[in-house]
Assembly symmetry: D2
Homo-oligomer: 249 residues x 4
């Protein structure tokens, strides 16, 4: 960063929502300032900082995952008028998920199912028809493109999953997670659907189970959950993500 | 509605945020159920209902507008790390406002300005270059299209305004309003920008002043603020909006 | 037309290519000028005219259809390097048919078939999954949208058919036709694929057979075959298309 | 190429159209077959070949450029109805140039000019407002994106130039060229506009003059003029373009 830059980091695992932080450390060196902003909805706390030159951010944490490995098919749909306020915006179209276009397809293909069973079938449909191809998408790629191209990376799988769920009037959002089993190891993204009064993960790539994911943050789609947002051009020198299973408690 | 349909209405003027409801009535007939959901961020309370056959919704209110008619140019920019949590998501790209594409244009055209002065110049730029053409856009039209086409209706003006503001790292959202002076009379939409610790209206169509607008609700863009969302196909028979100035208090 | 306007008309049935004009008349009144341009590839002759005020164009023709009602499945694929020059551009992406995005889907869904059998299966696939909905598309709607939305009018069916064929490396173009059996009666559009050394119609709407279509012109997609192109804003007062079967010869 | 692949090469400089091939050699090794297809319109002859394993293609040529370095501003517009058949399709929208969206902008910004003077002003407008950024676009990027983003590489400059010209009802196409002065050296692309009865180059990047360009082929936009089209996935190992000025004749 040749000049001072404002940065927003979303790299800390959230505490709560089916997971507990056992211990954590975050080393950001000495930027000009650091401030935390508790996110709306309370999922995570983005970190703002302003830095210049070279910044090294290192975050380490042990996270206990308490969420059950629920069978999606067993979950019921919440009637629209019973949705809590915080779930309602996740019915709407978003940057990468123009879900209204998928109504006819969803009605026809998954119309006879409901709630979790519908979501599970959608998840399987995507997994069986899409191919995971590193580098096949970029910041412009949306659910429409991915649905047609039948390929993508985790964000694209999640976008299609979200678009299909919303087209069925089931609130759906996108979570960035640290996950076991992702190859190559990197930040991972999964869809989350609102069923039976809570948010449940649905990973259409099939690479992870909810019990293997530590949620960092969630938002409407990839536009909300970047691990790093720089408010001026910067150069990312290196990035490494390591996730390991931890024995004991 | 030949079959029962879930509907979400966002037609009530909000109480607070520079305006007060003096008196109001809402007549929805006898739908199957009605429920209110206080929106996240507290701007408005969408109404859920389920109805069949013919539904007639009539809302009447007197609203006192207290917000000052501030000169946008006088308002300062809030440093990014001082933004409150609720303003942060409005920096992100949304369904109709892929703001990241506008960085170079905004830097070049408005780069020497800051905060409210920058927003005011953007507002004027749009007003002087765009033509208001009824029927020139539809549910697919986004800020990218409108920016190129140089025309649209209020939603399109607002989308471009929002995209430019966000490209300058100023939080911007879209409000649906009842406004004096809109021709033809209809629901109106304006951009709102976060400056000096509050949200300020910026109507790039030039048709209204903040003092003439009663806010209904606000969201990231048109995807969030529809006055009527039907979760099944319906037919809209008739719609009428009337806004009148009210003398006295 | 309050001011003089240049117009291009493509409304005359072509002579040749499986059809013969028995007799025809074209009445354009007295525009400022009229000129014909034999189109590249020789399919049709667009008419240029310049007119002001009110223009009434009336075209009548009897056309004998000689093309056989071939079973697409019986037709073979032309090896790419044997394609005639005039067919090659129809392998490329065009305004409404970004065919490269469909490669994975086409490989997976139709990969085991070849040539005409592949096209026939694609045609059936579209017909069985799409719904014809008048007014569901506009001048912005492309094959990507239609593929996801699973609905459209004749142009949209043709765009998807063309996109799929090109994704399988089979040249495909779009023809505007006068066709028996189209409801409501109007200009109709069908895809044409290049197989076994000639162009064959493939109507994914299932509304017409090749023996019921009189070709007007052909091009890469809807961008090339408009029946009327006005090079300034005009008002279309009325348009009527009537197609009747003609007994005898 | 692990398996046999059909390839289309467009790398030979055209003979005619303001340039003459003095001598040329093309070495393609021993592919399964090679065939030439004289392109429609006669601009170039694409080469089809089928190869497997590793293919090395080397083309060398000396080309004498005879076209004059005309001042675009001096060229007149051809009335629409006088356009030759081959120029007409270049008025239409194409894959990357949805020109109809630019009507209002073009009318407002360049409306008082005509013909070559209008094109020259458009060319200058683009050059002064856009930034050449290697890697800033990809196969999805169209004129709409580039117009908003105000940046791109030669193909993007050309797409915007073409879209603006067509929006002014001036036929415009895209030529791939070998050009002196391009940094880094590579295949180059320029717009060509039809004025005064011929095609004239307009390079909005400002990097080349018509007298420094040897045309390879031309088409509606980048979709038509790829130097290499592979009809199956291949790996491009290396590509080198060298263009040098040649003294004498």
């Amino acid at each position: 960063m040749p000049e001072p830059v404002d940065l927003m980091l979303q790299i800390e695992a959230a505490n709560g929502g089916g997971q507990r932080i056992l211990d954590a450390s975050l080393d950001l060196g000495k930027p000009e300032y650091i401030s935390r902003v508790p996110a709306v909805g309370g999922i995570c706390e983005p970190i703002w900082l302003r830095a210049e030159g070279r910044l090294r951010a290192e975050y380490r944490a042990r996270v206990a995952i308490d969420r059950p490995d629920v069978d999606l098919s067993s979950l019921g749909e919440v009637p629209l008028h019973r949705l809590p306020a915080e779930a309602v915006p996740y019915l709407n179209e978003s940057r990468y998920c123009p879900s209204n276009k998928f109504h006819a397809f969803v009605d026809r293909r998954f119309g006879e199912l409901e709630g979790g069973a519908k979501v599970a079938r959608m998840r399987d449909w995507i997994e069986s028809r899409f191919t995971y191809v590193s580098g096949s998408s970029d910041a412009e790629t949306g659910a429409l493109d991915s649905f047609v191209e039948r390929r993508g990376v985790c964000r694209d799988y999640a976008h299609v999953m979200i678009a299909l769920a919303r087209a069925a009037h089931i609130p759906a959002r996108m979570a960035s997670v640290y996950a076991l089993g992702v190859k190559p190891m990197d930040f991972h993204a999964v869809a989350e659907v609102y069923l039976d009064g809570d948010w449940y993960m649905a990973d259409a790539t099939g690479m992870t189970r909810p019990t293997q994911c530590a949620r960092i943050c969630a938002g409407r789609d990839a536009a909300d959950i970047a691990f790093l947002t720089a408010y001026r051009e910067i150069q990312l020198v290196e990035q490494e993500v390591r996730v390991e299973a931890y024995e004991g408690k």
